[in-house]
């Protein structure tokens, strides 16, 4: 399968990578900023696609090599001319101290992508804001929350459990400020 790296979108690349892996019996979950790109129709564009998989990185590397991606360090892959790089984050898939329980299967023209649900995507971005004070991650959480249906009670429950009540309230206030 050939990939035109220069013209490809986040969604298409995620689908092509997922499909190639699935053909070899490997499941991989898309997490991080790439989920934000997909859920906001590229309002935010992530330069990297982060996947989580329980498969051995060596096995993943062999599949990615078939679609032109070369392993550049222990967990990341690049393709010449492609603006995105792919990283396989260490398993298990988790958001804060909790495992990922629900997975969204998104059907696209290029294949099926397994990714975080919009609610988990918000929590995933908020985790970066909570733990590293990353404002960019907060902005991304707000973007997703504004255009997707989010279970705020779940985000609140998780935020309390993580110990970030104050920052959760800031997130809610910021949505209001920027709200349509």
């Amino acid at each position: 399968m050939k990939i035109d790296g220069k013209k490809i979108t986040t969604e298409e690349l995620a689908a092509r990578v997922s499909t190639a892996l699935q053909e070899h019996g490997i499941d991989a979950l898309l997490v991080g900023g790439a989920c934000v790109s997909i859920y906001t129709a590229n309002q935010y564009i992530s330069g990297d696609l982060d996947f989580v998989s329980f498969a051995a990185i060596k096995e993943i590397g062999l599949v990615l090599r078939d679609i032109g991606f070369v392993q550049k360090s222990s967990r990341h892959f690049e393709k010449r001319g492609c603006p995105f790089f792919i990283e396989f984050v260490a398993p298990p898939p988790a958001i804060g101290s909790e495992p990922v329980k629900k997975i969204r299967r998104l059907k696209t023209r290029a294949g099926i992508i397994m990714l975080l649900t919009p609610t988990d995507s918000v929590k995933d971005r908020l985790a970066s804001y909570y733990h590293w004070n990353d404002r960019q991650a907060l902005e991304q959480a707000i973007m997703v929350a504004r255009v997707q249906r989010i279970h705020f009670n779940e985000v609140k429950r998780w935020s309390m459990k993580e110990g970030y009540e104050e920052k959760y309230h800031k997130f809610v206030v910021e949505i209001g400020k920027k709200g349509a």
């Binding site: 222990s74 967990r75 260490a90 298990p92 988790a94 804060g96 101290s97 733990h131 590293w132």
Partner: protein, 109 residues
């Protein structure tokens, strides 16, 4: 103490240092323990690839901390905390109670 579990003594030292000081960099840890810097770097790289520690550049120094997003962090630090209690006082004083509070530049040591 946890060497058998973690596979080697360097990673145990790295864990105790991160637990005691909250953060650390390879050369600092190497000097602290009197071990080669590449052995510390190797372990930190391995831990970072596993998502257990995370790092950021501070000037030219790569500063490591426990990864707050590691799902088993609470359990791991509980184990390290427990093991730390069993360290001899002499070892705690030598390695894990080194002054960290600020000292004005130019002041004699």
């Amino acid at each position: 103490m946890l060497e058998g579990l973690f596979g080697n003594s360097t990673v145990e030292k790295v864990f105790f240092a991160l637990y005691a000081y909250g953060e650390g960099y390879p050369l600092g840890m190497a000097k602290l323990f009197g071990v080669p810097v590449n052995s510390i770097q190797q372990q930190l790289k391995r831990l970072e690839n596993s998502g257990i520690v995370s790092s950021r550049l501070l000037g030219k120094i790569r500063l490591y901390t426990f990864n707050p997003r590691y799902p088993f962090l609470k359990e791991l630090t509980s184990l390290i905390e427990k093991a730390y209690e069993f360290l001899p006082e002499q070892e705690k004083n030598a390695y894990y109670r080194v002054r960290t509070r600020p000292r004005r530049a130019g002041k004699p040591r």
